[in-house]
């Protein structure tokens, strides 16, 4: 004998039961996404539904902006064309020499039997909008899986490094800017070749961490990527030192830098192709393959550490 209420009073499970179910489900999502990062496929699938709505929301604003461009005076464009032509002429000398230098560098590297450097190439992408999340600094660009973008590719603009691709969706991808709190770029100082890692501060500035208080760093020093991470090509400008605080009560100096690239600007960026993995000499490969099995296990962790640093 069961004393069920008549079916027309049925209202499904009790609110508290539903709350526990949905809250547990959301907490599980939070945990899995923050610890394992295995939800990328689910994100891509859901983005197929949310992306059209987002585009719909952006359409009127884009068309307003385009209309503004349409009515802006021809004179301004002419002025800009003249300025660009002049800039191109001014840079022509350096550019022509750079090509010659690159060829010469290549030849010398071959002579010295040093590994050649990879040519820089990539896709031009347009920044669509900044992600609404107030806790991080990310932008969304209009190239995605369709253009064979993969997570981890470095992103630069005309002046220097902007960030790194962190998530790829079918038609768009997310770029974490170098000013994000969780983004780090291995750099070296051009003046003396000192290596370090630069971290975002979350307020549009960068910080050079773990440099001893007496390190040879000066205001105005240019930081370029060191390329030790295997992700960024070496020699891309990243930031300029703007403020140094040497406090004897701390073992490290506090060094603030400003990004060289227009990190917080909108416009076009270049998504660089992933760097080729430098091949190990065959004898090392043989040694690694014949070694004990557990050696293969820590590989993913090492990879992640590399990506972060």
């Amino acid at each position: 004998m069961d004393h069920q209420p008549p079916p027309f009073f049925k209202r499904g499970p009790a609110p508290l039961a539903r709350l526990s179910f949905y809250a547990a489900l959301s907490l599980a999502l939070v945990f899995v996404d923050s610890r394992f990062r295995t939800l990328e496929l689910a994100r891509q699938a859901i983005s197929v539904f949310t992306h059209p709505i987002q585009q719909m929301a952006h359409a009127p604003i884009d068309s307003l902006r385009n209309a503004g461009d349409f009515f802006s005076s021809v004179a301004r464009f002419e002025e800009e064309a003249v300025r660009l032509r002049r800039e191109q002429l001014e840079r022509a000398g350096t550019l022509l020499r750079a090509e010659q230098l690159e060829a010469e560098n290549e030849r010398l590297r071959k002579l010295l039997e040093v590994k050649g450097r990879q040519q820089v190439s990539g896709h031009v992408a347009q920044i669509l909008y900044a992600a609404r999340d107030p806790f991080s600094r990310r932008v969304v660009v209009d190239k995605g899986l369709q253009d064979k973008i993969v997570a981890g590719q470095p992103v630069v603009d005309a002046a220097g490094v902007v960030g790194q691709v962190t998530r790829v969706f079918p038609f768009v991808s997310e770029i974490t800017l170098i000013t994000d709190k969780e983004q780090a770029v291995p750099v070296q100082i051009v003046r003396n070749g000192l290596r370090s890692v630069v971290f975002g501060l979350g307020n549009g500035q960068l910080e050079l961490r773990f440099m001893p208080a007496n390190a040879d760093v000066q205001n105005g020093d240019l930081l370029v990527t060191s390329g030790l991470d295997g992700i960024f090509q070496p020699g891309l400008p990243v930031a300029k030192v703007v403020h140094i605080e040497r406090d004897t009560s701390y073992s490290f100096a506090r060094i603030n830098c400003e990004p060289v690239a227009g990190v917080e600007n909108y416009g076009e960026v270049l998504v660089l192709d992933p760097r080729e993995v430098a091949a190990l000499p065959p004898e090392l490969n043989k040694e690694a393959n014949s070694g004990p099995k557990p050696a293969a296990k820590p590989a993913p962790a090492k990879k992640r550490a590399l990506k972060k640093d």
Partner: protein
């Protein structure tokens, strides 16, 4: 149903498609590129709370969860962050629904303020676990703006349910 329980005006029943349409409009409003205006309220949270106070049997935690996941993907935030906040807020709103509807609009808005603050605080708590700092106190302005919007929102979303006042209905000849 009345606009508030103490009102003598009878509303027409709500149309389900209007609820869905209003939630979709709120989603579009949230997707607008307004990240520079930190005081913008969370439209989806506001409309979700509105419907779970007015119609707790039509709009519940399921809607909160689905819209939350959509917001998470579109916002590039942690998966489940918005979902958890919306689920908790819809539960609290539905639980308080019988009580809130007895009050006039001003006092209803005062009940809505803590619900909107729950949404912000839960999201902050979820993100603070891996050690992220508060992005400035402006983060908490949105709920206050949302509270002020309770008056126009109630009027707009109840508009299709209002019946025209018929002066001839109970007039002595």
């Amino acid at each position: 149903m009345q606009p508030t329980f103490s009102s003598s005006r009878i509303l027409q029943p709500v149309r389900p498609w209007f609820i869905v349409a209003s939630l979709l409009v709120a989603l579009v409003l949230n997707f607008l590129p307004t990240d520079a205006w930190f005081w913008m309220p969370d439209w989806v949270a506001l409309v979700l709370i509105f419907w779970s106070i007015r119609e707790p049997r039509h709009v519940g935690m399921g809607w909160g969860f689905v819209l939350g996941v959509a917001m998470d993907v579109a916002d590039a935030s942690l998966m489940g962050q918005h979902a958890l906040a919306y689920v908790l807020a819809t539960y609290a709103a539905a639980a308080l629904s019988r009580r809130i509807l007895w009050f006039p609009l001003g006092q209803q808005a005062l009940h809505v303020l803590p619900l909107l603050l729950i949404v912000q605080c839960v999201q902050f708590a979820v993100r603070a676990m891996p050690g992220i700092e508060l992005p400035g106190w402006g983060y908490f302005i949105g709920p206050f703006v949302g509270t002020l919007l309770w008056w126009p929102l109630t009027f707009i979303l109840l508009l299709p349910q209002f019946q025209p006042v018929d002066h001839d209905a109970n007039r002595p000849i």
